[in-house]
Symmetry: C2
Subunit: 333 residues, 2 copies
């Protein structure tokens, strides 16, 4: 039996919940959860914001732990090995996207907390294709958020072909944005933080920003017109997208990883004249995650976390819901 | 003196108009106009749709002709040579974009019909940097539209890295779209034409389409969900962009070269899940135009044109404004 924490209704309290995971699949892996990050999408699912939550609902998809059991066909992982598990827990391995290595684009990819139970538990299971060894150089205490928040902002850097010579901006210096600053700084870029919180400037600079723009100040935004090759928006908010399109240089790209409440929109003329793009992306493939883990280890990039015991789980969820965590919350057994 | 045709007010008739172009600049080139295409942007400027027209206004930026005079510093062109001139007539040559070869992205690039007189005339002038030799294999009668309409649809194929293995769609089978079908077919792609005119199907297939979708039929659009790597919209209309985003495969791109009346917009979730992009582009650089001309010559791609004498100029403009030219209008001396 697995001892988990589940919500039984939208916005419900997380309560101890026991379930029988059945027999382990031949390609299955069972992980002893040591740490599990809390991601904003855990909240969205808990609250059934996306209309697809099944209750009882066990959140948790930023897992770090050690392998307790492996299925009989698993050959590339060992019991006792320290691993991570993120948003995805299985891909089909046979569709054209899986075959090409883009398992994150597999149309039938299984998400760790959709239609199954996640990592707010003593154990969690997944298929071997998404259970990834944690490099020894990474601190297990803080590594969990890399597997969802981290790869969400690292993946577009890879996919969109960001170059070290690029001038880049990050909108929103929170759970996602603070990791993006670190990655883009280490990538070699000239990095600007856009934040509505001027009090975050010193921290943003420590995390990797070379410049800071108060995004509530229209004049500050106007002053950086035609400045950026790439702007990564990490916020779940509707912004003045035309102002950010104007902040792009010719050939520039505005890229979104946050789910905005309204459709994204832009005047067409500035996009035509400057050959500009708007794009978005999901989490990365196992290969991109592995590259991110090596890159984070080599450049000593780690999420900044606050740690809560699993016995403080509702307090932690409340902090994410109502407080301003700096910057990422992790539950610990 | 140059004998031209000018409008003196928005939507005004084009009337004979003589002007003194002054002395030729050291890097200037004067062209004896043989042919000049009529482009939709000539109409937009004639009607002052973009609020930047100065009257008297001489349209015309799809010029084919022979060089009558060259400035004293012009070394790469000769008198008598047959050349083309398109939307741009000068770039600064010293900004970072010009230096990189992207003269079309030069922020101070001069347009042939903005703040100066265009090619609806016996002669037109431009700086040598945008006067491009016409390959002998191309038919001068029909080549004019390549210099604006043609490069508008050829440029994104190059800039967006379209591959011969891509499945592509073209929205709008008109002055721009019919050339896009030819280019993309010769590029090696699997090509679908989207049109609101089912009676264009046979013609679209002749021009290079392998498939035809009646874009007024929501079921036909739904049937091609997740089908395209690249969709090029050539229309100046607001469409159901979400339906076209849905028609893209993962990693797909919706690219616009038509000026839509309203901002372009899209739901964000489908873009995130499928790593999709929306982009736009202006006309191409001299290098891209030269590559287009060679490509068109090699693959025998030519605009389909209707030819009018310059003495029928108002009739031709009216045909573009109210009729349905198939597919591009060219004025002839």
């Amino acid at each position: 039996m697995i001892q988990a924490y589940a919500a039984h209704e939208p916005q419900g309290e997380l309560k101890p919940f026991e379930y029988d995971p059945g027999s382990l699949l031949p390609n299955g892996v069972e992980i002893n959860v040591e740490y599990c990050g809390i991601c904003h999408s855990d909240l969205s699912m808990l609250d059934n914001e996306w209309g697809m939550t099944q209750y009882p609902f066990v959140p948790g998809h930023e897992v770090v732990g050690t392998i307790s059991t492996i299925g009989e066909q698993v050959t590339n992982l060992q019991v006792g090995q320290r691993v991570g598990l993120g948003w995805f827990s299985h891909s089909c391995l046979v569709c054209e996207w899986c075959v090409a290595g883009d398992r994150n684009l597999c149309p039938t990819a299984e998400a760790t907390i959709i239609g199954r139970h996640g990592g707010f538990a003593d154990k969690v299971r997944a298929h071997e294709d998404w259970v990834l060894p944690l490099p020894a150089e990474l601190d297990a205490t803080t590594a969990g958020p890399l597997f969802c928040g981290g790869i969400t902002v690292f993946n577009p850097i890879v996919q969109m072909g960001i170059q070290p010579t690029d001038r880049v901006g990050v909108i929103g210096i929170g759970g996602l944005g603070h990791m993006a600053l670190g990655f883009l700084n280490a990538w070699g870029c000239d990095v600007t933080a856009f934040s509505t919180s001027p009090d975050k400037e010193a921290e943003a600079r420590e995390m990797g920003a070379h410049h800071f723009v108060n995004s509530r100040d229209p004049k500050a935004l106007e002053a950086v017109q035609s400045s950026f090759d790439f702007i990564l928006s990490t916020v779940n908010a509707d912004l003045d997208w035309d102002a950010y399109i104007a902040a792009l240089r010719p050939r520039g790209r505005l890229h979104l990883v946050g789910v905005t409440p309204s459709p994204i929109s832009s005047q067409i003329f500035p996009m035509i004249l400057g050959q500009k793009s708007i794009s978005a992306s999901p989490l990365g493939s196992p290969t991109t995650i592995n590259n991110m883990l090596s890159f984070a280890a080599r450049h000593e990039i780690a999420p900044i976390t606050e740690t809560y015991g699993f016995n403080q789980i509702n307090e932690a969820v409340d902090k994410l819901r109502n407080g301003k965590p700096r910057y990422r919350l992790v539950l610990k057994h």
